[in-house]
């Protein structure tokens, strides 16, 4: 049986299990004793394996003169990392600091990948259902092509075949706005924030909060009266207008420092590493194909009667999509969408192949090679991914419970 929300699944399963165990009544004692014996045997086997592994590991490690425990955490790392979101230097920072740098790089590429993949995936998923034959076929072709080629191959393609074949330093492309592109990366102008820039940030936060308030109020009014208030323009005005006023009032506290071409490198500006760009591109192009399938399935899951009923009530096509179809489709879309996000985060560990300094490359690669403490390093790396997965599934279960249709 296909059951949607997790809670319902669990209930169904519980009944199924209960039914099975009740059928065992004719020979209850024998069966229960057998079960207990089997479980004890399993405990003994697992315990024995764990003990043997620990014993061998201790022996092998002492032979190789490798320390155990997390004593290395505060030792000086002594290696450079090509992209650091927090201050880090090879000579003074610790292995622990390197761990955080790697983790932040993983989260950065995952966040960028998720935004791009979601955008592209929704566009392609909707395009697959287009009434235009050519559009639907093109979107279908994209999905089939991308899904059936391994991600690692796509990553190597973007990195070695596309980004590495960009012009060399002396032939750099100058892009509009002062940006520079060559095979060492994309160099963007670095924003320099003035003294009063915080006022603009505060104005932006206030604007977004006010827009959310407006949205909530409009939603309440629609529930009460059925009138559909238009809040798009006032909301945009709040989000864009307030910070703009603050920007002018604070005396334009923002300037840019353009990257400068040197003889041997590009100085100044914000550098986007080719490794980062390749990984973000590969992850988002690959995951977008899966998200497109999720979106398509979600939209198809809303029965056509819903659209017809909405039209019969006099809703315009845009309103039908926004108020009737999408809210129902999202209930189907969000759980598999989240698991695609998790896949993307886990797949970002492919960074190690092209040398983007993510958690696996920095910690399970470099730190492991320097310290040799495989058990601690790999266990911690796995724990991070496990924590991200468990946290996400927990959030998902809450969402599923909140949006489950209360059936009579």
């Amino acid at each position: 049986m296909r059951c949607g929300p997790k809670a319902a699944c669990n209930t169904v399963r519980r009944f199924a299990n209960a039914a099975v165990s009740q059928q065992a009544l004719p020979r209850p004692t024998r069966r229960r004793l057998g079960g207990i014996a089997l479980q004890i045997a399993l405990i003994v086997v697992i315990g024995g394996l764990a003990y043997g592994a620990a014993y061998n590991a201790a022996l092998n490690l002492s032979h190789a003169h490798i320390a155990s425990g997390f004593g290395f955490w505060n030792n000086t790392a002594g290696f450079d990392i090509s992209q650091t979101l927090v201050t880090y230097s090879a000579s003074t920072s610790s292995f622990g600091r390197a761990f955080w740098v790697g983790l932040l790089n993983t989260l950065l590429v995952a966040a960028v990948g998720i935004v791009l993949a979601t955008t592209l995936g929704f566009v392609i998923g909707i395009a697959r259902l287009s009434r235009n034959w050519l559009v639907a076929r093109l979107a279908g072709g994209y999905v089939e092509l991308v899904r059936n080629v391994p991600l690692l191959l796509q990553l190597l393609f973007w990195y070695n075949a596309v980004l590495k074949s960009l012009p060399l330093l002396h032939g750099s492309m100058a892009l509009p706005g002062g940006a520079i592109l060559n095979n060492r990366g994309l160099f963007l102008p670095r924003p320099l924030f003035g003294a009063n820039f915080s006022a603009v940030v505060i104005a932006l936060i206030v604007g977004i909060a006010a827009a959310i308030g407006l949205h909530v109020r409009a939603g309440r009014r629609r529930e009460r009266t059925g009138a559909d208030g238009h809040i798009l323009w006032p909301a945009l005005l709040l989000i864009v207008g307030l910070p703009s006023i603050a920007f002018v009032a604070a005396g334009f506290p923002l300037s840019f420092s353009a990257p400068q071409m040197g003889r041997f490198n590009v100085s100044g500006g914000v550098e986007i590493l080719p490794e980062f760009a390749a990984l973000a591109l590969a992850l988002s192009v690959y995951t977008a194909a899966f998200i497109a399938e999720v979106v398509r399935a979600g939209l198809l899951a809303v029965s056509h009667g819903q659209t017809e009923a909405a039209q019969a009530l006099g809703l315009r096509p845009g309103q039908t999509l926004r108020l009737v179809v999408l809210p129902q489709a999202m209930r189907v879309i969000v759980p598999p969408l989240t698991s695609q996000y998790l896949n993307l985060i886990k797949n970002s560990s492919l960074a190690v192949v092209i040398g983007y300094p993510d958690l696996v490359q920095v910690f399970a690669g470099t730190v492991l090679n320097i310290t040799g403490q495989a058990v601690e390093v790999i266990a911690l790396t796995m724990a991070v991914y496990l924590a991200i997965s468990l946290f996400t599934s927990l959030t998902m279960n809450l969402y599923a419970r909140a949006t489950a249709i209360a059936e009579r």
Partner: protein, 382 residues
Amino acid sequence: MSAIGDQAYLRALPAEKLPPPAERRGMFGWLREHLLSSPANIALTLICILLIVWVVTPLVRFFLVDAVWSGSDRDACLASSAQPNPGACWAFVRVWFSYFVYGFYPLAERWRVDLFLLALALGMVWLAWLSAPRRDIGALYFFVVLPVLSFILLHGAPLIGLAVVPTSLWGGILVTVVVATIGMVFSLPLGIFLALGRTSDMPVIKLAAVSFIEFVRGVPLITVLFMASVMLPLFVPEQSAPDKLVRALIGVALFASAYMAEVVRGGLAAVPRGQYEAARALGLSYWRMMVLVILPQALRVTLPNILNTFIGLFKDTTLVFVVGIFDFLRTIEAARADPKWAAPNTTLTGYAFAALFYFICCYGMSRYARGVEAYLTRAGRR
């Protein structure tokens, strides 16, 4: 009555159906409906046609028209007066082809690889062709005979005169196929046991199965491979550390089995409760109930999902690259680094060749999975 009969004309036969209006018929009707139904649609169609022309033309030029098909080193693929704008360097693929298939497997022993691939193909066709005769023997052949036979063939058995070929010499498509097949052969039974454990009512077994499945599904394959290749040698006595390829195989098989377990669990949940109850009422023990009644139905229902897991597994085999095993993708990487073939287009050609191989395998499997799904739907409707 006859008065009416005189005045009115009653038609005895129904009128012939009129064909639909000309503009809704044939090719033009189809074009009108699917491509040109509104101004926005016409614009979309035009954009798509432009996009196709803009993408496909250079691709065809690069990979077919301007491509270099033969040559013995990079000079053939470099720009020259004869070919100012050379395209894909297929000569590179031709020269390296046997390396892409066999790796460094000794030339004299390559017939053993061919025989293995043939035996594997036989097993796959036997299992995949749903109305093949004696598929039970086929399953026995695939899951028991084939692994033993492949080991003897590929690794060698000095007793019967087959020289041992160490796994460090294996490479290319051979390794990709071996990793994928071992993954399939071991992950399915393991996955079934894990799924049974997870649905079991014995708390210890359930806890063990759930922890294993959730742990493996929560971490990336790369970390599992790292664990298998770095930590596994620590956990066994020093002198009995397994071979590098075997370590990666263990990692892949364990990883795939966790995903397989979830797929099988879906199948178990899809078997109606009445089936469990009926089997129990007949007095079947747990294992007889599972083997004779529940699993055949569960696996049948979930066959398309099992196949999809295999497709994922096949793509994931590329990751053994990371722990230094020369699978197909790694041989491409090694070959393109050869200075003898250092030309601007060899990298792209190598990747295109690899993409073609993986696409054909995965797309073929996914078409087959869809076929099976359609077959099961038809069979279920009856």
